[in-house]
Symmetry: C2
Subunit: 337 residues, 2 copies
């Protein structure tokens, strides 16, 4: 069994937590094991979802599992996350989210009231995001073989425009915007787990309405990417590599709440790598920046694309020095989403 | 929190394994908590997937999580199961399966070779079933918070006909066919877990080609249902309740391998409730039975639908007595798929 495993077994005989952390190890696992094995043009879009054509209709299809710990955190709970995360992945394809599936893996002994609270959050978030849970599945695993509840949602959305939104559409000269301040989801989770007092709440939110507003205004969006595990830095590195282009950003233009910055400094985290659940990057032609910023009041222009240093992300720091931004090998804190 | 929980908290303060067993407790959880909370017409189809219209195109959408233990069993492994199970749910909607999503929840410490073997099985099964894995997600949970690997697949298929296949189309006078012998998947898993020596292998198989053959022949199929957790009995009870009709079957017409019957007798299991992963029920007008049996050589006519005893399933036993077939409260053996 297991001939020619593409991950070097001598180096990684067993899965590490970092293989799910959104950094280089996960990137390699997905690239070397999954993308190569399941190789097909839709998967190779390497986007937040697959976009497929049915007659005149273009649909997006995506999936995410949620294993966040703790289940309830400042600003939300796993129920909101499973809606926002999947709705956002559809939005990143430029799709209007329509339908969700719901796969529950429940641990024996989970309090029934906890399940009920989460189920109600899922429904409230789905309603707010104009999506319907249309199909589902429920499994229960033995006590000690789960962690309360793991949830998978897959989603279907419809593309109501002719744009091709994805890494392959990114061009030199494009501008890079961020939709709002970064790091709040990760810091809220960290603070809860470490019993660290703070008023910071998760930024968990559905961003589809924001994206659809940009598209409705006729902006020529080249690429969208939501920031989750691995944060802003990992998302930019993924995009620069997929596009084979250079992304340069200025640290001082990246919006970070003072309190988030403060907690990160105390805990030794770099906010560029901290997870978000309601923030996304917009890459579009420079002449559309002004209009985009007018439509997204919390957004900021943080950088631009060039063909200088292909596949690299560079950052001009607060003190003016320029450094290369790389992926971490894993996540600074596991099980953030 | 958790006001008005529809499951009586005093009776079920915590989730039981049986809540995932495919029997009455699961049925109540889904009906009282999920169907009522997420209430919408697509979900209320109460079928193996939701069927939705996009312009001229009708698509089916379904999801399943797989938590089978052990991961490898006689006749297959979890990798085959995640393809067959979801492909079959699409087929039960009368759809040609096209696309799968793949959500992996991996436990820290899982041998890399195990993952690789399973990934290869998924791809081989997908190829054989003519479906593509087009989008995915990978999470890793801490050692002791999973059981090696849990997998969710969601699927999209296309309906290439005008039939409305589902419980609401079942009519009095319809015939009930089973596509082959029952109980092999459950017995193979049980035997492995109990270290019981047998040559029985799981029946895990993709059945979409069989279904598409019936449709292509112009048979007026009213309903399809694959047999998984809860076995033939639970599937029939679900259908009779959804349709509000009476299903009567004859025990002697239900095909069961002698060896499966033997193992069930020794272990004290009723094969009518044992899980399958490659068997399905076809409900269609009586005058189409002959043609259906000619197209499905392993199928058997096992019963018929009437409006005698609405919502009930009855069985004429080997000795000629008639009894009511009910759901078990849970599964005879948990984590069978």
């Amino acid at each position: 069994m297991a001939l020619n495993c593409p991950i070097p077994i001598s180096q990684y005989p067993h899965l590490l937590l970092a293989h799910g952390g959104g950094g280089r190890l996960m990137h390699n696992l997905i690239g070397q094991m999954f993308l190569q094995t399941f190789d097909n043009p839709l998967l190779q879009q390497q986007h937040d979802g697959a976009v497929m054509q049915f007659g005149e209709t273009r649909l997006a299809f995506t999936t995410d599992s949620y294993v966040v710990r703790p289940l309830f955190f400042p600003g939300g709970n796993i129920g909101q996350l499973v809606v926002h995360g999947t709705v956002n992945d559809l939005a990143m394809c430029g799709a209007r989210p329509l339908f969700l599936s719901l796969g529950l893996i429940l641990e024996e002994g989970l309090p029934m009231e906890t399940l009920w609270t989460i189920v109600q959050s899922i429904q409230a978030s789905a309603e707010a995001a104009h999506v319907q849970v249309v199909t589902g599945d429920t499994k229960v695993v033995d006590a000690g073989k789960g962690d309360g509840i793991y949830i998978n949602t897959a989603g279907i959305g419809i593309l109501e425009h002719n744009l091709t939104i994805g890494p392959s559409s990114i061009q030199a000269g494009d501008a890079v915007l961020i939709s709002g301040d970064i790091g709040r989801h990760g810091v809220a989770i960290m603070a809860t787990r470490l019993d660290f007092e703070t008023t910071i709440e998760s930024d968990s939110a559905a961003v589809a309405d924001d994206v659809l507003r940009l598209i409705a205004a006729g902006l020529e969006i080249h690429c969208l990417r939501d920031l989750t595990r691995g944060g802003l830095a990992s998302a930019l590195v993924e995009l620069s590599q997929s596009a084979g282009l250079h992304i340069h950003i200025k640290e001082r233009d990246v919006p970070i709440l003072e309190e988030v910055q403060g907690v990160c400094e105390i805990l030794g985290f770099d906010p560029l790598y901290v997870a978000n659940e309601g923030r996304f990057i917009v890459i579009l032609p420079a002449h559309h920046v002004e209009q985009a910023l007018a439509l997204l009041p919390d957004a900021r222009l943080i950088g631009q694309v060039s063909d200088d240093k292909k596949g690299l992300v560079t950052l001009q720091s607060h003190i003016g020095a320029t450094r290369i931004v790389d992926m971490l090998s894993g996540e600074q804190l596991p099980r953030i989403c």
